[in-house]
Every structure is written in C-alpha cells, then in structure tokens.
C-alpha cells in the first residue's frame, strides 16, 4: 500500500507540474491578453500601457518565473473586475459549486446504481426496458432546455420551488436534479452490464452454493466488485461537476465557479479566467488522486502491485 501511495502521489505531482506548464503555454498562445481585455475601440497606446503594466513585454522566462513564483505563494493575481485577489474570489465561490456537485453526484450515483442494479437483476424484463428508456432519455437530454421547462412548470406554474437563488435547501433541488440527470443515466448504463458481469462469475455461484441469500450476494459481493468499475466513472463525473456547470449555474443564478467563469469571460477579466482555470484543474487532479486511493482501499489486488 505504501508503494502504491507513493507512486500515486508522485504521478499527481507530475500532473500538477504538467498542468502549470500547459496553462502558461495556453495563455501565451491564445493571443494578446491586453487586446482581449480592452474594449474594441482601445488605442494602440492603451494596449501597450496595459502590456507594460501586466509585464507582457518582459522576456518569456521572466514571465514564467513570475507566474510560477506567484503560484508558489498562492497568488493568482488580482481580478480586474472586482479588484480583489482572484484566489479569494474563487475560493468564495467554490463551496457553492462543491455543494451542488456533491448533492448532484450523490443523486446520480444512488439513482444510477439503483436503476442499473434493478435492470441487471431482471435483464430483458419490463423493468429493464423501462429503465433503459429512462436512462437513454436522461443521457440525451438537453440540460438547459429541460432546466428552463422545469423552472416554467415547477417554479412559475406550480410555485413549489424558487426559480433561482442560493442558501436554502429548496434552492438546490432543481439545479442538483438537472446536473445529476446525465451522470445518472451514464452510471445506470454502466452499472447494468457491470453487475450482470459480476453475477455471471463463478465466485457468485460459489457464494450462493454456500447458502448466502440473494440480497447478500448482490449487495456484499456483486455490488462491491462492480463498484470498483463504477467508482472510476462516478469519480470522473464528479470531477466534471466540480468544474462548475456553467450553463446550469447561470440558468439558476447559482453563485458557483461556473457562473463566475461565465461572468469573467463576459467582462474579459483575463487574470480571473486564468486563475479559475488553474483552480478547477487542480481540483480535478486532487479528486483523481482521491479516487486512486479509494481504489486501493476497495480492491486488495491493486494495493499490492
């Protein structure tokens, strides 16, 4: 386990370094930030002045050094729009995105595994067909359209839930449901064959031959083994949600990272865009690292190799 842990940690560090370099190269290649940030009518002098102020006229290695040393001091620059450090701004938005992602992935994982398992236990039955229909719909849904329709129906027509907002349980229901929809469909579609595969394996037959009940065989044996496969997918879906679902957050006015990014792009706040990108990417890498560790805990075969 120790070897495994060390190796995963090293790989994570390598990924972080790679990320930092890629983001830097990306900011260099996308064009002149100064002219992007300034409005269309800006004069050449204005652009040059901003370039000087941002240090864009320094040699590349100086810029890179400044960028890296900033990162090491956890300095992601200052937002032009709000005038406060980007990190503080992003961190203030992260909890909202995180909570939404957590609720959504729980819904998706729970619902997906439940539906997939039901379909696996009675393959080719009516239950299986209905579930297959539902999950196909979920996976192919156009989320912003469904979201708007839901707002129209549930919030505007029926008045059960608020159309947007943040802070109370009732605010999170609709956006979480919307975000959970597609991951849930995908998880269900992977769960079904994963559990069916497990149920067909000899150790399941052996477990039943020992007199274990069907529910115990499915929950303790088949599901845990299938879980090893499902964890990957769930983890990646979660990592995707932590990026902040820009569209859903915007539709529901949810003060998360996705919404922030949309605003930053709208306002051409270059430092904030770069900062948000870095924070989100770091989150994804950290989550993948966590998934690897859970893997090692779930599957003894990984622990030892």
């Amino acid at each position: 386990m120790k070897d495994y842990f060390i190796r995963r940690s090293l790989l994570t560090v390598v990924a972080l370094v790679g990320l930092i370099v890629v983001v830097f190269l990306f900011t260099q290649s996308i064009g002149d930030p100064a002219s992007i940030m300034l409005p269309d009518w800006a004069t050449e002098e204005m652009i040059q002045a901003l370039r000087d102020k941002m240090g864009l006229n320094d040699p590349l290695y100086v810029q890179f050094g400044r960028y890296v040393s900033g990162l090491l001091r956890l300095d992601l620059g200052t937002s032009l729009w709000q005038g406060i450090p980007n990190l503080d701004l992003i961190m203030s938005r992260l909890p909202a995105t995180f909570i939404l992602a957590l609720v959504a992935i729980s819904l998706a994982a729970f619902g997906g595994v439940f539906l997939g398992a039901l379909a696996a236990i009675w393959p080719r039955s009516v239950v299986d067909r209905v579930i297959s229909f539902i999950t196909t719909l979920a996976v192919t849904s156009v989320d912003f359209w469904v979201a708007l329709m839901l707002i129209l129906l549930v919030s505007v027509k029926l008045g059960w839930l608020p159309t947007s907002g943040y802070g109370e349980v009732k605010h999170i229901v609709l956006p979480a449901l919307m975000i959970a929809l597609r991951p849930m469909g995908r998880i269900a579609q992977v769960t079904r064959p994963a559990i069916m595969d497990e149920l067909a394996k000899p150790y399941i037959l052996a477990a039943r031959a020992r007199g274990l009940s069907t529910s115990r065989v499915i929950v303790r044996h088949a599901a845990r083994n299938a879980g090893i496969v499902l964890l990957t997918l769930t983890g990646y879906e979660f990592a995707g949600l932590v990026n902040g679902s820009a569209i859903i957050e915007t539709v529901f006015g949810w003060p998360g990272v996705g919404f922030l990014l949309v605003q930053a792009i709208k306002l051409r706040d270059w430092p904030l865009i770069v900062g948000t990108t870095i924070v989100v990417a770091v989150m994804v890498i950290v989550i993948n690292f966590a998934i690897d560790l859970i893997y090692g805990w779930l599957d003894p075969r990984i622990r030892y190799h």
């Binding site: 000899p202 150790y203 031959a209 020992r210 007199g211 274990l212 083994n225 599957d299 075969r301 030892y304």
Partner: protein, 330 residues
C-alpha cells in the same frame, strides 16, 4: 441403507433462441452415506448442470423442468428458497473447478470462511474467524492465522483449492459435490488436493459426488460411477465393471480413447470421427446413435430405456436386454 441423496428422472432444459437444449434429460442417481460416486463425461454432457440442478442454482435461461431430488426426507425441488438456503453450504456443500475464480477477490479468505459459518452455525464474527483459522489448519495450510487474513490473489491455486475444501467441510456436510476439483491444478498438486478431499470426507463421513472427465481419477477414488452423455446417464455400475465389461458403446469408446500412462505408444484402436453430438437431440432415438459403431435399426426409431444388466449395473442401450450382457470392449 437409505441413500444420502436420490435423484429421480431429473430434467433441466435451457430455453435459448436456437431452441430447447436438454442439458439434463431424465437423470436418476443416488449416493449412499460415506460413499464416493463419480459422475463422468466429456465437457458439455450436462454433468455440471446436473449438480447445479440438485443445488437449485440453475440460472435462466435454464430451468429444472421435472424430476425429484430426495434429501433427508424432502424433495428439494419443492422446498422453499429459505429452507434451500439453509441446506446449501451446510448439508450439501460444493467444491468448484477454478479455485481462483470461486472466491470473491475483494474479501480475505478467512472472512469468506467466517461468512459461511456465521450464516449456518450462528457463530459470532470473532468466533467464526477463529474457527476459520482452525479449518485452514485442518487442510494443512501453513501459517493459518496470517493466511486467513490474506486475499485470494495471494494464494497459489493449490492452496486456494485447499481453502475451498475447508470452506466446503466447514459445516460438516452430509454430501459434498466436487465439480472437476483439480482440473486447473498442476499434476502433483492435483494428487495432494484429491488425497485431502478423500481423507477429510472420510473422516467426516460425508458422501462425495465427484464430477470429472478424468478416468484415472474415477478409478482411483470412486467405487461406483455414472457415465453421462448428452444429458443422460448412459451407463452406471461399479467402476471395475464399467472398465472390464462396458455395455454401452459410448463407455467403451471413452475408455479406448483415454491417453493413459498404462497404455504404451500405438497399441490401441480408436473409434473414428467421435465427438459429442449436439445437445439438441430428438426424443425419438438413441442420443449416441449418430456416432455409434454398433447401431441397429431400432436405435434410430426408439429411445432406449435403462435396463439392468445385474442389480448394480444399468445401461441405456437397445442392444442390452434385462439380465443379458453384450461385450463391446475393444
């Protein structure tokens, strides 16, 4: 003496898109207390499905469609699933072919042994784990305390099969069904495991139904055998009689085909063009008819019935009449 288990006219069919597969087609057999009986045949003959049918573990599209399985005064095909669960692993236990695939990879071997003991013997977890270590010692696994906490992938095939035997005997079953228990093991390990199986079953007084395709194993460990072909028992009797005076052409052909240490190079006659025929066969003729060298007109017209050559020796062949005997030994 009342047999431990008596199977009457058991049939298990598989309902597939291509038609109905008669995997088990009217099999009758019994095992006496403390006896080791072999169920022998090639792959696909239905011997595994037969054992799963006895345990009521056949999965769709397969279904037990008829027959009786008498065990301790009850027909197992009629009892509730709850009661059946109490019998599985406790009174009838199984040893499977692939030990490395028959343990759940994510739990330690000790935990899986304990799980069974908790289920049937109502032991506490602690006590069950202690008993698990004891059982591993019984099957001569060195360093049993540490081994109990190890995972299946840390065991060799031979050791896992010992652990599987420990699991099977943990509740002192009356009947042990061993389905090709050593096929995936090395030769010298095979010998170890089979000796262990026969010693432990003898010391517990458990009867053994030994399913195998290896005739050497049959003659080493079983006194009596059932020869299966295409879902049917085509011949049954004491092993020495099956060898010396096989009545069914299939039995004779099988013996003649065995690559055997006892048989030096190029000293045998081989039946030509043999192979198991499709399990989807017709009701109206002998299943071995297409491959039989001794076939007669009758064989194509009518399905044979089991006749007694003597009180212990039965055969499913038109050429044999009750009390009579035909030599087909080549």
């Amino acid at each position: 003496m009342e047999p431990v288990i008596r199977v009457n006219d058991l049939s298990t069919y598989f309902y597939t898109g291509a038609g109905v597969l008669r995997a088990v087609d009217g099999v009758s057999l019994h095992v006496d207390p403390g006896e080791t009986v072999a169920l022998v045949g090639e792959s696909g003959c239905g011997k595994t499905v037969c054992s799963l049918s006895i345990m009521r573990l056949v999965r769709p599209p397969g279904r037990v469609v008829g027959g009786e399985v008498w065990f301790e005064g009850r027909n197992l095909l009629d009892v509730s699933e709850r009661r059946m669960r109490r019998i599985r692993g406790d009174k009838i236990a199984m040893v499977f072919q692939e030990p490395s695939l028959s343990f759940d990879p994510v739990y330690s071997v000790g935990a899986q042994l304990a799980e069974t003991l908790v289920q049937h013997k109502k032991l506490g977890r602690r006590e069950a784990l202690r008993k698990a270590v004891e059982l591993l010692k019984m099957v001569e696994i060195a360093d049993a305390e540490r081994r109990a906490a190890s995972y299946p992938h840390e065991f060799s095939g031979g050791m896992l099969q010992r652990a599987m035997i420990a699991l099977a005997i943990s509740c002192e079953p009356r009947l042990l069904i061993a389905d090709e228990p050593t096929t995936s093991l090395d030769v010298t390990i095979q010998a170890q495991v089979l000796e262990l199986l026969s010693e432990t079953s003898q010391s517990l007084g458990s009867a053994v139904l030994l399913i195998t395709h290896n005739f050497g194993i049959v003659s080493r460990y079983a006194k009596r055998a059932y020869v299966m072909y295409a879902g049917q028992v085509v011949e049954t009797g004491p092993v020495h009689k099956l060898y010396q005076e096989p009545q069914h052409p299939y039995t004779a052909d099988l013996w003649a085909s065995v690559l055997d240490l006892d048989r030096p190079k190029k000293t045998r006659v081989l039946p030509s063009g043999k192979g198991i025929s499709d399990l989807v066969h017709e009701d109206s003729k002998c299943a071995y008819f297409p491959l039989c060298q001794h076939r007669e007109l009758e064989c194509e017209r009518e399905r044979p019935e089991l006749v007694a050559v003597d009180s212990s020796h039965h055969v499913l062949c038109h050429r044999v009449h009750s009390g009579g005997s035909v030599h087909v030994k080549q």
